[in-house]
Symmetry: C2
Subunit: 199 residues, 2 copies
């Protein structure tokens, strides 16, 4: 049985519920990769996961809610664990995780559909929510710690650095369609880090 | 009347032909922006441009040939004219042109469809051809001249720098959906140039 986000959930119910939640999120991601956001059907996701649509809508009131959680689950929560004490090492680990997702068949398909449908207001909202969430839980923490350690200046533009690193990797995969090797992102990170540390 | 690429064309025929060529290329770009590559129909492009399809196929034997030329024509040939004697000034001018294209409604739509269909082998070939052409005629020259002037080291990885600049701009427009201001790309270019000049 699925549970609503705001509900108080007894521990045993939650434990029984989680494999079902994971299954729904996996099916939603597959459907997103195959059909894109606009053509993704929540009743179809429910059917493929062996549930009725009411159960799915109870937990995720809108299609965007479902897709947002499916994307968040598939990308994992890596940055919380990243705290090597060295900015370069943290960025290399972040890049490895991001590349692993984007180079996987479903990751690449998901990215393509979301880029293609970027003009759709719901997709736009989805992208904004994901960037916001990443900014709070993820990479931004890596920069805050580097600033606290004195590795970077107080006024470092962390967003510009992240945009630059993520953009270069995206361009390499989607436009050049070349593999993102360890050599590629190490050289990239060294170049950008040197540029950002100049001040 | 249209002419084949390899044909010897009398000057007056060519001059009469060019407005027709431009019209076909404009229609092809509009159709690409609206329908994407896979659903673009050459006979429909011909009809909308007021020609029969045989005339169009005589000049562009395949759909990929037509789309390649439409894209090349819409992006212009800016880099040939870029030779300010200063790498930073050349890169700022390049960025202004690229951003102008990608932020225009048809440029953005074209980029979205090509990214969405990147797994299609013809689209993949198209992207590779465009990058190759750009690399020969365009931005690469800017780096060769900077190396010749001694502004950059002989072994500078120009491709990495271009990937990084283009990727950051693409991420800003497509993922963050934020405007690419003069401030944004000036800060970006200064950061990356400082990073690449370290050696």
């Amino acid at each position: 049985m699925l549970y609503s986000p705001g509900m108080t959930t007894p521990r045993n119910t939650k434990q029984r519920g989680e494999p079902v939640v994971r299954r729904v999120l996996e099916v939603a991601l597959e459907q997103l990769a195959t059909h894109g956001f606009e053509r993704l059907s929540v009743p179809e996701v429910a059917a493929l996961a062996g549930l009725n649509k009411t159960s799915v809508y109870r937990r995720w009131p809108t299609k965007a809610d479902l897709v947002r959680e499916a994307l968040a689950a598939s990308m994992g929560h890596t940055a919380e664990a990243l705290d090597s004490g060295d900015l370069r090492a943290d960025l290399l680990a972040l890049a490895r995780t991001a590349v692993g997702f984007v180079e996987s068949p479903s990751g690449l398909a998901v990215l393509r559909t979301l880029l293609a449908e970027g003009a759709n207001p719901e997709v736009k909202g989805l992208a904004a929510a994901m960037l916001h969430q990443q900014g709070i839980n993820g990479p931004a923490l890596v920069f805050e710690r580097a600033i606290a350690r004195g590795e970077l200046a107080q006024d470092t533009d962390a967003t510009l650095v992240l945009t630059t690193l993520a953009g270069a990797i995206m361009h390499r995969i989607l436009i050049e369609q070349s593999p993102v090797t360890e050599h590629f992102f190490t050289t990239l990170i060294d170049m950008v880090l040197f540029g950002v540390k100049r001040c």
